[in-house]
């Protein structure tokens, strides 16, 4: 069978194309620019739209426009650009518009640097824009998943009429690995709510204003009922050797691959260590972590940040087990050796004797 070695960023854009996305608005920023470059190369050849916007604020509003018109539309950026997009994200949510936003995270705060990081967890997973809202957040850890989760992102965005973020990092975007591309989506479900400049849709309104408090409260309540259904149906994660694990390590994106290498080493030393890798960062696999807290004696979270996702693990574990943390940040990435040591240090004493 023919197989391709593909960069994560390219795989992602091609996944979007396979999902039926023909519209891209964005502003260049390392390390996400390749996605815009691929879009500029590919989409016009398909009769699609590529616009390099004046800034990220503009890009996300162009996305708002295209989404209002019922297009499958995306934008891609990296951390500082995502900060700028959050105004538009709040409006997308308020108007219940589907859109796909890619964040190839880099080091912050401020201009920081362009090395891989995971410091955007708070701004993407917990909010960052104004108001009560949630974003569906997907965290790929390979070029194959960059493609697959990009496709899924469009499907979920349309299904729930909510923006979806693919939260990745410079390494996953830059690395090449074998990718098998799925078959393309052949039709996109009609969106009868969209404003399509037709007689049938000319009565439609895309709007986030609810002037009366009781109306806005009702609207937000409906949004959160929708979020409850997403939490019930869309949690995704990968588990590795958790059945007998004394210690469960938790990491997403590129960190999960480093942890996996460390896992192989500590298993060879006889430590019973497993891994839970969240694929959806929201909805979060809290339930599964709570279950694992019954069987494992401790947790270790590793992130390319000073500790953001660890808060969700601690909430899920709810004080029943110790949750250790190992973070590198500012663009630094832990070595496998370093993670092995962190695992050894976090390994529960009772597990050692058992």
């Amino acid at each position: 069978m023919a197989v391709e070695l593909v960069k994560g960023n390219d795989a992602l854009l091609r996944g979007a194309v396979l999902a039926g996305c023909r519209t891209f608005y964005g502003y260049p920023i390392t390390p996400s620019s390749e996605i815009a470059e691929s879009a500029a190369a590919l989409l016009p050849q398909l009769g699609g739209t590529f616009v390099q916007s004046e800034c990220e604020v503009g890009a996300i509003q162009m996305v708002y426009g295209a989404a209002s018109a019922g297009e499958r539309v995306m934008t891609a950026s990296s951390s500082p650009g995502i900060s700028l997009k959050l105004e538009g994200v709040s409006y997308l949510v308020g108007s219940e518009l589907p859109a796909v936003i890619i964040d190839i995270m880099r080091g912050g705060p401020g201009l920081g640097n362009i090395a891989p990081a995971q410091g955007d967890y708070f701004q993407v997973v917990k909010g960052g824009g104004h108001g009560d809202y949630r974003l569906i957040v997907l965290a790929p850890n390979s070029p194959q998943e960059m493609c697959d989760l990009a496709m899924l992102a469009f499907e979920l965005a349309d299904r729930y009429r909510n923006p979806v973020v693919v939260l990745s990092d410079g390494f996953t975007g830059q690395m090449m690995e074998a990718v098998e591309f799925p078959v393309p989506v052949t039709s996109i479900p009609p969106k009868d709510w969209a404003v399509r400049a037709t007689p049938e849709t000319s009565g439609n309104l895309i709007n986030s204003i609810r002037l009366m408090p009781e109306d806005l409260e009702e609207h937000v309540t409906a949004l959160f009922e929708k979020y409850a259904s997403i939490e019930a149906a869309e949690v995704r994660y990968e588990e590795v050797q958790t059945a007998d694990a004394e210690l469960v390590v938790v990491g997403y994106g590129i960190v999960s691959r480093l942890l996996r290498a460390a896992l192989a080493r500590v298993r060879d030393q006889g430590l019973r260590v497993g891994m839970l890798r969240p694929i959806t960062l929201w909805p979060y696999p809290s339930q599964r972590l709570a279950e694992l807290a019954e069987t494992a004696s401790g947790f270790l979270v590793a992130e390319l940040s000073t500790g953001q996702m660890v808060e969700d693990v601690r909430l899920a574990v709810n004080g029943r087990r110790p949750v250790a943390f190992h973070g590198r940040y500012g663009g630094a990435v832990p070595s496998v050796d370093e993670l092995v040591k962190a695992i050894e240090a976090a390994y529960p004493a009772e597990g050692r004797s058992a």
Binding site: T30, P31, L46, G47, T49, G65, A178, I206, R257
Partner: protein, 479 residues
């Protein structure tokens, strides 16, 4: 509250709802605008033009943030309400998705000329074929009378309580003049909503601007000097006089740009799925045909499961060498990852990449302790030699590296790669010579396998023969 009177309006336009069902309370006939406000008048002019041009059902009206935030209460067409200042960006997204639509971006002076300055400037400069109605009332109406970019010199507002000091806050921004310096816009005119005569001119301008879009001509904008009696603290009649006496001198009326006659209509098509074309483009990407089992048969234990670091200066084909090695392995069904150093690490003319080849799925693509180092220049050897694992392999370009590796616990293969490449007439083929030497030394893959891979993944076959020779010379160099 006011009704939409003001001009010599005889008939109620079809393009406006008769009663405003979206307004809280529902079904009213009064608007939310103050008596004497210009917004209602302009709404009616726009709606009449929509009627005349028979475009109601394909019009998308964008309501901004400002007093006209509730434009969708009134216009009986597709409606999109947007964030403050961003209407031209949203309009871009709608118009490009729906080229047949007529998109109206309706904006106040705070919205367009302050917070949204960059969005309007760039939409105009791209020549988005949309129509912008720009209500210049020299003040922020909705938020209670603060200073706008268009506020006049000396004009008192709640945030310029001593009168606008232009030395401190800038001069009134003349948007029509500014935008008419751009190449793309096709029609820009400034009008005023004062007396019947001026309203007739405004009516013509509104129609012309929409017609420009219907005909696919490009970006058009009508700036409308419009009364805000409430915040000007005047009655409606005084407001009109103030426009004539004070606003018009600062913002002269007239046509600032009109190239409608000379512009050809543009045609853009709505995005299509074009699945045939997708299949074609995907098929054109380089891929390898997988053959064989990833068994490491015939490869000495110490060379199996290599963690490879390849380094040199930019232009030596370091990244290509890595991806070719990865593809050769992929073709043989191994699991591979390739990770380049990017950003600051790759600045200053150096480049390096990591390749991991394994019979099992690769965990980490990062190579911090390589079992193989291919060094194409001296700084690379210097930098990475200490990181090589004991028992590892260093293959280096002895043409450019005079200082030999000092490590005693690794295998060292010296290859005059650049000299050999020069003999072949192509300095840049040194990378392939080094690859050949590495593969020959370790017995990992044959020259024929490299050749077969190049055949499949290289887009241009022009250099194939030279590449083949370079690999072959590399294989020969170690024997």
């Amino acid at each position: 509250m006011s009704t939409m009177t003001g001009g010599a309006v005889l008939q109620w336009p079809e393009s406006l709802y008769r009663t405003f069902h979206r307004k809280p309370g529902g079904g009213q006939e009064s608007t939310h605008y103050c008596p004497g406000c210009g917004h209602g008048v302009l709404h009616k002019l726009i709606a009449e033009a929509m009627d005349d041009l028979a475009i109601r059902e394909r019009t998308v009206f964008i309501s901004p943030v400002g007093c006209s935030v509730f434009g969708y209460y009134y216009f009986d067409c597709g409606n999109v309400q947007v964030a403050h200042g961003r209407a031209p960006a949203v309009a871009t997204g709608i118009k490009r998705a729906l080229p047949h639509s007529v998109v109206i971006s309706y904006q106040g002076d705070g919205d367009l000329a302050a917070i949204g300055t960059s969005n309007i400037l760039h939409a105009a400069n791209r020549g988005e074929p949309i129509t912008v109605f720009f209500v210049n009332n020299a003040i922020y109406g909705m938020t209670g009378g603060q200073m706008a970019p268009t506020t006049l010199d000396g004009q008192r507002t709640t945030t310029s309580p001593r009168g606008r000091d232009t030395m401190d806050t800038g001069s009134p921004l003349r948007v029509s003049e500014l935008l008419s310096t751009l190449d793309a816009p096709v029609y820009i005119e400034r009008v005023a909503l004062t007396d019947a005569k001026h309203i007739m001119t405004a009516r013509r301008a509104v129609r012309k601007a929409l017609k420009a879009q219907v005909e696919g001509k490009g970006f058009s904008l009508v700036e409308v000097l419009s009364p805000c009696p409430i915040n000007w603290k005047m009655d409606p009649a005084e407001s009109k006089a103030w426009i004539t006496d004070h606003l018009m001198p600062a913002f002269p009326l007239g046509v600032y740009k009109d190239v409608l006659a000379e512009r050809e209509p543009q045609t853009r098509l709505a995005p299509q799925l074009a699945l045939d074309k997708v299949a074609e483009l995907f098929a054109a990407e380089p891929s390898v045909e997988r053959t064989g089992e990833p068994t490491w048969d015939g490869v000495a234990d110490r060379y199996r499961e290599p963690q490879v670091k390849i380094a040199g200066f930019g232009g030596q084909g370091v990244l290509f060498l890595g991806s070719l090695l990865a593809n050769v392995a992929l073709r043989r069904n191994y699991h591979v990852t390739w990770l380049p150093a990017y950003g600051p690490e790759s600045r200053g003319g150096t480049a390096n990449c990591n390749v991991v080849i394994s019979a099992e799925p690769v965990a980490s693509p990062m190579v911090t302790e390589p079992s193989v180092l291919m060094a194409l220049n001296a700084p690379s050897l210097e930098r990475f030699e200490p990181t090589v694992t004991p028992g590892g392999v260093i293959v280096y370009n002895s043409t450019l590296i005079s200082k030999t590796p000092t490590r005693q616990d690794v295998e060292v293969v010296a290859v005059p790669a650049t000299a050999i490449a020069d003999e072949l007439g192509e300095t840049r083929a040194a990378n392939l010579v080094l690859l050949g030497a590495y593969l020959a030394h370790t017995g990992m893959f044959s020259a024929a396998e490299v050749e077969a891979t190049m055949d499949q993944v290289l887009k241009s076959h022009g250099m194939l023969e030279l590449n083949r020779q370079a690999v072959a010379r590399g294989f020969a160099a170690t024997t």
